[in-house]
Symmetry: C2
Subunit: 206 residues, 2 copies
């Protein structure tokens, strides 16, 4: 398909697609004439993935490129590639405070207690610790043990999600898994915000 059809298929303006191509976020099409190229379903899927990472994930270009590299490197076993993609989805950040060290310790205890198989250096541990530090700094003294009872349901949901990945090629599996990770968590966050607005109306708005 031409770039106009790619735009139609993805809902992305041609200018945005050209930006993705220029930044190397989308691989070049097959040249068919001077200034003309043909794109395929792989481009459609990739453009959707980049859009989700940029717009929903708010990731920086450098982090998106790390995710895409993990998606594309099929010399790495699938489970390891998921780990690389998951790590790339956590923005790097300076963290060297004692509050962070304490929170990270709490996360490690939580992971062990819930028997989760998560790499010791998985970046998501830092992501959870960052959230804990922010909560505590805002006066919310959250104890991760409050989540213990909910973890079995969250794990069951995650297993079902991976079980419904498309059975075709590896890139499609990786892409669907990354889009699923990011878009599902934005959906959950939005549901929480709907509930918060409703709760604010009940408490302060009547």
């Amino acid at each position: 398909m031409r770039i106009a059809a790619l735009s139609e298929a993805t809902g992305l303006p041609v200018a945005t697609l050209k930006y993705y191509l220029r930044e190397g976020l989308l691989h070049p099409g097959t040249a068919t004439a001077r200034n003309q190229a043909a794109y395929d379903d792989g481009h459609v899927r990739r453009a959707r993935l980049v859009r989700a990472l940029l717009e929903l994930g708010n990731l920086q270009l450098a982090d998106i490129k790390r995710v895409l590299a993990a998606v594309d490197d099929d010399t790495v076993p699938l489970h390891d590639a998921f780990g690389v993609a998951q790590d790339a989805m956590v923005p790097p950040r300076d963290r060297d405070t004692s509050a962070y060290a304490r929170a990270l310790g709490d996360v490690d205890v939580f992971v062990r207690r819930n028997r989760l198989h998560v790499r010791p250096d998985a970046q998501v541990r830092g992501m959870l610790a960052d959230a804990l530090v922010a909560m505590r700094s805002g006066g919310w003294d959250l104890d991760l043990a409050e989540f213990d009872a909910r973890m079995p349901a969250i794990v069951a949901q995650a297993i079902a999600e991976l079980g419904s990945l498309p059975p075709d090629d590896r890139a499609a599996q990786m892409e669907a898994s990354v889009i699923g990770t990011i878009s599902y968590e934005v959906a959950i966050a939005a549901l929480r915000r709907l509930a918060l607005e409703h709760a604010s109306w009940r408490r302060f708005g009547r």
Copy 2:
């Protein structure tokens, strides 16, 4: 306190605090001598809020300024100010596709069916629609009705959260509510990612 003590209290480097001051994200301290100013607890709280919005929320400076304006404008009733802050936490975005229109319609039906009191033009509706569009583009055909059963628990949690806001001044309530909104959703997202890594290990890693 001097800026060094503010840095100690917030865990933020002095250079970062000076950046916040320069960008108007933090109000100036009281001048005590040439090139010296005194800061108070209000600065500590504000610096923590800005950090959460920047680092956890990944918000742009312009959006953070809109959140801060809602926090500070005490001529607006509290419930309305929450709404303004909530709207500012959803990044503006171009959305004019038919997929988006369909998703937004689904969100509106969901809100009505669950009897949620949410403003018709609340930006969070668009946030949920964006997540739906991304999921569907990635091959996940989510039906929002799947969340109906979970909404009562999410609403109960939101009511408990607002009920535990600090009872002191309005700015402190607004700040705690914004930090709570953002950090809690990052925590939930991180728990989901821990579960996904565990699920990937079970499915692909053994």
